[in-house]
């Protein structure tokens, strides 16, 4: 048995051309979000141009893995066979104040039946799947 938040067997993420730095960053305990070199604007998910100023001078900048819960959901019904025995789990939508308030999706660590306070501060925890081929990492969140 692993100590991953969700049971193994879900489709595992692989980098696409656009987001390779992001996935590599997670491997190194770093959160990298796309930023525009021309106007300084942030965006997530990554795109080929900046939606603020339409420049294509985009790069990935490291930001602290700190955020605020914008919304959440507690999932009960498994829609994937890998989660058949999972039981409840919590998905959170987290605003990143250090990256222009873009939002990222993750799981909220701790009791899956805990009360989830919208607006609460959360800190990131990297979850490394070294046994996967190729290995990958996810970013979860815990109430600060």
């Amino acid at each position: 048995m692993t100590d991953y938040y969700l049971r193994p067997g879900l489709p595992q993420p692989v980098a696409a051309g656009l987001d390779a730095p992001y996935w590599q960053g997670l491997r190194e305990n770093r959160l990298l979000i796309q930023q525009c070199a021309a106007c300084g604007g942030w965006q997530w998910g990554p795109e080929w141009v900046c939606h603020h100023c339409l420049s294509d001078q985009l790069h990935f900048a490291e930001v602290p893995a700190e955020g605020i819960i914008y919304s959440y959901e507690r999932v009960w019904h498994p829609v994937h066979p890998a989660l058949a025995e999972q039981g409840a789990y919590i998905v959170v939508l987290v605003t990143l104040p250090h990256a222009g308030d873009v939002r990222v999706v993750g799981n909220l660590l701790g009791d899956p039946e805990q009360t989830v306070p919208i607006g609460a501060r959360v800190v990131g925890e990297f979850e490394h799947h070294e046994d996967a081929d190729p290995p990958f990492s996810l970013l979860h969140w815990r109430i600060a």
Partner: protein, 388 residues
């Protein structure tokens, strides 16, 4: 475009539970189209345009060939997933007729989820890349899971109680008990049964979620000039709009206006085009992928303010014929059939014709809201001749 085009025929196959249709999806589409032609009193060979949505697999060129249509003049797909394109396909068909691109356009949708894949399941493959890679590994992959977080935030912002969602479901099921075509006919729902039902994903219980069904539905549209010759009361397109707000499609749940059914920019355009207001609507069909989407759709179409939801959303208000806003009078996607919402547009026609199993007296202004929370979404208002 107000009043320039009319729905003159509607047709449906029998509605089946997911995977139980005896026919191939393409045959279902043909059957619904032929039924709509018969209803309209027209020859299928005279259809010269097709409009659908959500990447329907029944290609218009093949349909036109199969039906022996004399000429294909309009072959139209409303981009975007989910049922957000139902009324958008009607808008496209009406625009094509009004502009003279085609004369007889069929709006259709066919689904055989046994023959093809299911909506309500996650991806069944080993790896995932791009936008879905940011959500699926965290167990966020089904439509219910994609939309629940919008509704959670809306309920949080406005203090909405769960009873508001329940009222929608109860009204749909009560109407379905009067509709023999409904898949949930003979399977009533009450508060206790709803409250005891399992969570799918909070805030949605089982009865907050649409069915998954097989079947097909079709509607024939012609110009108002030709509509007078049809055997049934024509249902005029007073308004039909599609679209979404600024960056509604921003990935990974990054749309700026998040807790929304996506209708805030559409509703004013719809009412302006139709020349009516929310107060004029006699009967409403509002697409239930999930009840929370209906709640936000009604708010964004001006039926009540966000702070009024708890008081406004009571079952009695939504019941035909006596309620002041009869809602989903066929049973809707929850309890009649999930024909990707086109069944709602057909029910809107039935109300104007006086043919609903939960008929509203003197229904002249009949409105449909299609596919909340996706992008693009759409809505339309049909009217009787008295509204012209």
């Amino acid at each position: 475009m107000r009043g320039q085009v009319a729905v003159v025929g509607v047709g449906e196959t029998e509605y089946y539970k997911r995977g139980e249709a005896p026919d191939a999806e393409f045959k279902l589409a043909l059957k619904a189209i032929l039924a709509a032609c018969e209803d309209a009193g027209i020859d299928a060979k005279d259809i010269d345009g097709f409009a659908s949505y959500s990447n329907d697999r029944s290609d218009p060129s093949r349909l036109a060939a199969a039906l022996g249509c004399k000429e294909l003049r309009f072959s139209n797909m409303q981009w975007g997933g989910g049922g957000g394109g139902g009324s958008g396909a009607i808008a496209n068909a009406a625009a094509a007729i009004h502009a003279g691109l085609a004369e007889t356009v069929v709006v259709f949708r066919a689904l055989a989820q046994g023959q093809f894949g299911r909506f309500g399941q996650g991806p069944q493959r080993n790896t995932i890349a791009g936008e879905m890679a940011y959500t699926v590994p965290y167990g966020l992959m089904s439509p219910a899971q994609m939309f629940a977080m919008k509704v959670v935030r809306f309920m949080h912002d406005h203090g909405v109680e769960h009873s508001a969602l329940r009222a929608i479901s109860l009204a749909c099921y009560e109407h379905a008990q009067r509709n023999p075509r409904a898949v949930m006919y003979g399977r009533p729902l009450d508060e206790a049964k709803y409250d005891a039902s399992r969570w799918i994903v909070e805030p949605f219980r089982l009865y907050d979620c649409c069915q998954e069904n097989d079947g097909a539905a079709a509607m024939i549209l012609v110009s108002a000039e030709r509509a007078g010759a049809s055997p049934h009361k024509p249902c005029y397109v007073l308004g039909a709009v599609a679209g979404s707000h600024y960056r509604a499609g921003a990935s990974v749940h990054n749309t700026p206006d998040y807790a929304s059914s996506t209708f805030k920019t559409l509703a004013p355009r719809l009412y302006a085009m139709a020349g009516v207001t929310a107060k004029d609507v006699d009967v409403l069909q509002s697409y239930e992928n999930f009840t929370g989407g209906v709640m936000m759709s009604l708010v964004e179409h001006g039926f009540c303010a966000p702070e009024q939801v708890n008081d406004f959303f009571v079952k009695e208000r939504f019941l035909a014929p006596q309620g002041d806003l009869p809602l989903n009078t066929s049973g809707g996607n929850l309890a009649e059939c999930y024909m990707h919402g086109l069944g709602l547009n057909i029910e809107a026609v039935r109300q104007i014709r006086g043919q609903s199993s939960s008929q509203v007296a003197d229904a002249d202004v009949s409105m449909v809201i299609s596919g909340p929370m996706v992008t693009p979404v759409s809505s339309c208002i049909l009217g009787s001749e008295a509204t012209l």
